[in-house]
Symmetry: C2
Subunit: 333 residues, 2 copies
Amino acid sequence: MSNQRVLTGDRPTGPLHLGHYVGSLLNRIELQNTYEQFVMIADVQALTDNFETPEKVRANVLEVAYDYLAVGIDPKKTTIFIQSMIPAIPELTMYYMNLVTIARLQRNPTLKNEIQQKGYESAIPVGFFVYPINQVADITAFKATLVPVGEDQLPMIEQTNEVVRSFNRLYNAPVLVEAKALIPEKGKRLMGLDGKAKMSKSLGNAIFLKDSADELAKKVRSMYTDPTHLRVEDPGKIEGNVVFDYLDIFAPDKKTVDELKAHYQRGGLGDMKVKNYLLEVLEAHCAPIRERRKMFEADPQQVMKILLEGTRHAHEIAMQTLKEVKTAMHLLY
Amino acid sequence: MSNQRVLTGDRPTGPLHLGHYVGSLLNRIELQNTYEQFVMIADVQALTDNFETPEKVRANVLEVAYDYLAVGIDPKKTTIFIQSMIPAIPELTMYYMNLVTIARLQRNPTLKNEIQQKGYESAIPVGFFVYPINQVADITAFKATLVPVGEDQLPMIEQTNEVVRSFNRLYNAPVLVEAKALIPEKGKRLMGLDGKAKMSKSLGNAIFLKDSADELAKKVRSMYTDPTHLRVEDPGKIEGNVVFDYLDIFAPDKKTVDELKAHYQRGGLGDMKVKNYLLEVLEAHCAPIRERRKMFEADPQQVMKILLEGTRHAHEIAMQTLKEVKTAMHLLY
């Protein structure tokens, strides 16, 4: 066991999909064997752009927890916790806000993009604007040294380490620790069903871990392939073809995939045949997850108990950090 | 006893002076007999523009407490508490930040002025920028209905009530209560020793409650009077004359003050004579305060015990509000 600590998590705004599975969940199942891992259900952060529908956030805390447990995030190895139950995080956020300027936040490229995407213009909620500092508190509260992020989130790690260095220098105590980004291997981003670069709930192009076998089949059949591949005998393209993209990622039998690709490219292989093969492959992944999820769904109280136990542990660690922070700041009475 | 609740307080950036005594402390000694009063030592807020010298803030928490107790703020009637020990305040701040836009903060005239005065230009610390929302949390955490403020602080009360209304409407629960500003009577702002409109530690023109009799005498002798009043026999002006300004405020014997004013205006009354009279008047106010302060200074542990007891009570009340807020937001697990 390494002495590195991982912090990661999700905003509970919907159930998790295959994009999460490939992009982060599988990674976490690996990481929990090597590192001390904290997985945060970020309800407070979800509220920064869902504050008008808190009941949705609340409901999805459990949905996300079901998904975690179903895929094999093991509460014996990973601390799963609820962000809003860690009061040290907002306290740390308050102190860190003194160490970051408005101009610095405005320069954060991730935040800039998101503000543009959301069309806030001048009506940016303060909570959304300062969420990078809230993330600094998330990461440092647990003294996480490794944070799995996409490349687009690298500015958040930079911001974290700036605060860490400012704090330690200003208060002359090595309380906070810098974090490293753990960037997943290339090619682990899953396309949407419609061929868009990203699978996402809001784009309506996602396969959810909770989808039934029927829903899965329906979604696979609707997948974007090669729009010019009209007749079976025509040659088809595999670039940008969602079905082959998924096969590359999910099919364990690479030889069969290579044969299918060659056949499809020279013509004579219908979309339906490939889709049926993909469905088999995905079902092999999804069926056991779906079954385990049903088991957890049937006992929400047990799942909440797991979350509360994880949260209790996370709370203790964050309180210890807060105590060290306040000591360095001469704020213990 | 009214069922109104007062919240007020000070940033512990220095010992309190006669400006505080006249402008707020005397008021609090009155208010504590009629209302349930909470007096906050706002160390977290003080840090927003003193984050580089937290040891100064820490030391002044006790200084301010000595002053409170010395003037007669009675911990049996008034809850005195330390802001940084109330974790509900940063939690509430996080949730309220979703309800206020950046543009709205930028329009806050008090904040605008302060940012200009401090010469932050583009390097405004986020903590300073968002402190009006922190104040909303201070006020609402205690469901304060009355907040004694100067006219320059009215925008803070407006901001508070905007958040209160937004929150209650959005989460469809009458959890938060609006606050009213309690504006002190006109003329209760004390000039500085140098004749500047405001007494302040940073301007170096203050008489502190902790000043010794010698320091007090020295400061009274240095007071700005009428710079054209060079010889005793000359007529002098009383407008803008600090000595007469103070006599108006502190001297119980209005008749003598009127006589002195008339004499000074027609000539024949030297500055020293008036200053000596003022010194007597001030010493009558300050001597008992100074004596009581010495008593408290001699037992800092007892004073800290008083603060911790007040803080415990304040914490309970703020946690109850936080619970109601989180319930309305579907955030109780």
